[in-house]
Amino acid sequence: EPEVTQTPSHQVTQMGQEVILRCVPISNHLYFYWYRQILGQKVEFLVSFYNNEISEKSEIFDDQFSVERPDGSNFTLKIRSTKLEDSAMYFCASSVTGNTEAFFGQGTRLTVV
């Protein structure tokens, strides 16, 4: 069964460093998303991406964040200069259209020290 895959599963980085979280969406899906979940809290929407551009972003998704689809398969989230409060689980998701269910990857746990 097709699934969304994310790498790495766990990333530890020093404050101020750049990190790139990687996702491979399901192959025929056209809409891509990033969500984050701070430990013990709810899941929060970060950004949606369609047709090679951001279609919507939340207040959390400030200038430190960027997304890219560098080739036909990967979808990346870059955090330019990490802060302690960026420590969270980051989930990638994809859907076929804007009106169908999104499927989530297994997540990347980011720890900023």
């Binding site: 709810k42 929407f45 939340s58 169908t100 499927f103 989530f104 297994q106």
Partner: protein
């Protein structure tokens, strides 16, 4: 702005008992989802509810949707320990299919 509230936040129940988790949302929406999350794991889709009066059941879990009241419920029947997890409802909002999640309900089923 679409807001989603869930209650209770924490639910401790004994095996064999029944209980209901409630999910209220603030504006009209196309779809409502229920997810299960085990500690440190991803989100497992349980139900997708699309229309008013929709009811779906899987094993000991049953979800329903009342779009007029903007309320969904997740009913647990005769709970077993394996159901212990955090349950989230989520509502799709906006043109981009983003999901707005509720606060989650941590369910602990005691033997």
């Amino acid at each position: 702005e679409l807001k989603v509230e869930q209650n209770p936040l924490f639910l401790s129940m004994q095996e064999g008992k029944n209980y209901t988790i409630y999910c209220n949302y603030s504006t009209t929406s196309d779809r409502l989802y229920w997810y299960r999350q085990d500690p440190g794991k991803s989100l497992e889709s349980l139900f997708v509810l699309l229309s008013n009066g929709a009811v779906k059941q899987e094993g000991r879990l049953m979800a329903s949707l009342d779009t007029k009241a903007r309320l969904s419920t997740l009913h647990i029947t005769a709970a077993v320990h394996d159901l212990s997890a955090t349950y989230f409802c989520a509502v799709s909002g906006g043109a981009t299919n983003k999901l707005i999640f509720g606060t989650g309900t941590l369910l602990a089923v005691q033997p």
